[in-house]
Amino acid sequence: MEPKDAAPCCVPFALRVCSMSTLLLFNVFNGLIIGAFYAMMALGLSLILNLSGVINFAHGGFLAIGGYLAYTLVPFLGFWGALIVAPFLTAIVGVAIERVLIRPLYGRDPLYSLLLTFGLAFLIEDGTRFIWGAQSLPYRIPEALNSPLSTEFFFLTGYRVFMVALVALVVLGLFLILTRTRLGLRIRAGTLDLETVSVLGVNVRVLRNLNFGLGIYLAGLAGVLAVGMLGLTPTIGDSLIMPSFITIIVGGLGSLPGTLLGGLLIGVASGLTSVFYPSASEAVIYVIMAAVLIVRPRGLLGEEGRF
């Protein structure tokens, strides 16, 4: 590294940032960035849960698959190619699994599919360990994204800004799909009354299958984005699955805007807690969940009377 005095800007900067308000502001922004990531993962969970009633415990596993597929594809397609292709391949894996394993359980008690995806998470973890090994794998991101945009706001790295922009784009795309396309209309209608949708001639099996694929696509994309910041190991999804579940509980089951809000809220809360009491930075999201369940059990934007 360069000698420290080669970066003179850091001294006056440190004096300014020492003020608590600046530190808090930094962590609010930073929390929003992390929250956006949680939200994207939770949106996939929420889509699947809303239409199919499946609590997808294997969502973190699909995230890992996305990361590993990207790692495998990078030598052939480069970073950008892998970013595009890997989530689609993950979605295809998801569609196949839905068709073979999950479809037979529709109509049964939700605990069946919960237990299935619970086991599936272990299968995926051991499967990725078997194929790619237990050792963490190095994943490089383009040089242009691998540095801060400014010295002062050093936590705004190219990669984080890119990630937030991509999440915003994906969320926008998802909302357009859900509101402007025939598929989206059917998914929304199915969420409200699947039986009527079926009676009207919509192939519900295909609808659920495509919806599951869409949810897994989001998990795969989250995986590709995650490996730019985290070590690529079979357990990469483990630490991210809980915040995702809490995101949808806090935001409100059945509400996609609520999911988005929930993700941002717990991201910011976790970031701010790190300033004062780092050991509680994970626990705080559970406290928020408990508070929401006590005060507003349906979640912040959940529909009244639905749950």
Binding site: V17, G53, L111, F122, S136, I141, S147, E195, A226, L232
Partner: protein
């Protein structure tokens, strides 16, 4: 027909979330067939979770040692058998349950484990209660051979204090005396930080801040923002495994490696292998390194491990597993018995022979605290040299004798009580 969505209740989601917590600690059983007349060594180590890669490497080293020992007639002319259990990476209850199973049901003669400091201490306490000879291969917290030492518990890897003592002078001289700690929030991290704080105090340095970070954290940005705000001479990372990878990757993206010195105590080849080249920097301690020109038997060991691990070189973890199993054999040969007290007595001052030591300075088990006194390898992480081995990711600049880095037995807090 009812809509599936209507059958999902909030309580179901909460139950699911609770089950997700359970999923973090659930682990498969691993077992192998046993024969009555064999000497049994139980390995209670992580095969899943954040330390799975480290556990796998210790297992590879252990299996090599096992094969070598059996090829030479076993222990006391009996074949040796390795029983492997997955302790998980962080669940003490599971690790203790597996230790009890190995001791009571499998009746192992030797117990080995664990990588996680907290789990290692818990297993050591179980082994002490049951009077079973126990070796800790890779759990570093000082208490194992310090304030909670036991007559029957021995350790191959270094204490955290040995690690901090071996590198602290270099960091103080090279970087300055204002340090910020980012520390993993369990026994290993705590005792590393205590070690560095002691060094800092002696040198008249300042701790400008410290964060205790939950194990298996993914986002280190808040801690890095805080660290930057204190303008330290060095940001000291006292993390391990995936946590270290995540933190180093994010520090590079923040450009902090260009503004501050980032270093620490323990670093592992498994971590370096998971890092992109730009994140391979900083001064650290390796507990064993595969490139030791001129040291007897190291090249043969590296070649043998490459055959067993798809061409990968051994790491310190591989050597820990290897040395632990060989220690069982050496102790039994010296004691001419499998009785725990006799084994432990035989271990006092036992020197590892060169084909097991695989390092300079004749490592030995110190009498009084049962701690191996090996050589520590101080140096810096580096990207693989052009045209060199892609796994040559560390440059050793200094070799420190374990006895020079360790506290005296009196200062460790170990008060060994032998059975009457």
């Amino acid at each position: 027909m009812s809509r599936p969505i209507s059958t999902i209740r909030r309580r179901t989601i909460l139950k699911a979330a609770a089950a997700a917590g359970v999923a973090q600690v659930a682990a498969p059983f691993v077992w192998s067939a046993r024969a009555a007349d064999t000497v049994k060594i139980g390995l209670d180590n992580p095969l899943t979770g954040t330390y799975a890669a480290l556990g796998k490497n210790e297992l590879i080293g252990a299996q090599l040692a096992l094969d070598q020992i059996n090829a030479k007639g076993g222990i006391l002319d009996r074949k040796v058998e390795l029983l492997v259990e997955d302790s998980t990476s962080a669940d003490t209850a599971t690790a203790v349950q597996k230790a009890n199973k190995l001791i009571e049901r499998d009746q192992v003669n030797f117990l080995i484990g664990n990588i996680n400091s907290g789990l290692a201490q818990a297993i050591a306490n179980v082994a002490f209660e049951k009077g079973v000879f126990h070796i800790v291969p890779g759990g570093h917290t000082d208490t194992v051979t310090g304030s909670q030492c036991h007559w029957n518990v021995f350790r191959v890897c270094n204490t955290t204090r040995m690690e901090t003592n071996s590198v602290s002078k270099l960091l103080l001289d090279k970087y300055g005396k204002k340090w910020y700690f980012i520390t993993t929030d369990y026994a290993f991290g705590h005792s590393l930080q205590e070690g560095f704080e002691a060094s800092l105090k002696v040198a008249g340095g300042t701790e400008v801040g410290a964060d205790a970070v939950p194990l298996q954290s993914t986002d280190f940005s808040a801690y890095l923002i805080k660290a930057q705000s204190t303008n330290p001479d060095a940001i000291i990372l006292l993390l391990a495994g995936d946590d270290m990878i995540n933190c180093l990757k994010q520090a590079v993206q923040f450009g902090l490696d260009k503004k501050f010195h980032i270093a620490g105590a323990q670093q592992e080849l498994e971590v370096n292998l998971g890092l992109p080249p730009e994140a391979l920097f900083g001064d650290w301690v390796f507990e064993w390194y595969w490139k030791q020109p001129g040291v007897p038997h190291v090249e043969e060991f590296v070649a043998e491990i490459r055959k067993r691990s798809g061409g990968h070189v051994p790491t310190a973890r591989t050597w820990f597993g290897f040395a632990s199993i060989w220690t069982c054999k050496l102790a039994a040969d010296k004691a001419k018995s499998l009785e725990a007290v006799k084994l432990a007595k035989a271990m006092q001052g036992l020197v590892l022979p060169p084909e097991v030591a695989l390092m300079p300075n004749n490592p030995f088990y110190r009498e009084g605290d049962n701690q191996l006194m090996p050589t520590l390898f101080v140096g810096h992480s580096q990207p693989a040299p052009k045209g060199g081995d892609p796994e040559d990711l560390f440059a050793v600049t200094q070799e420190v004798k374990g006895v020079d880095a360790a506290l005296s037995v009196g200062d460790t807090g170990c008060k060994m009580v032998w059975p009457s």
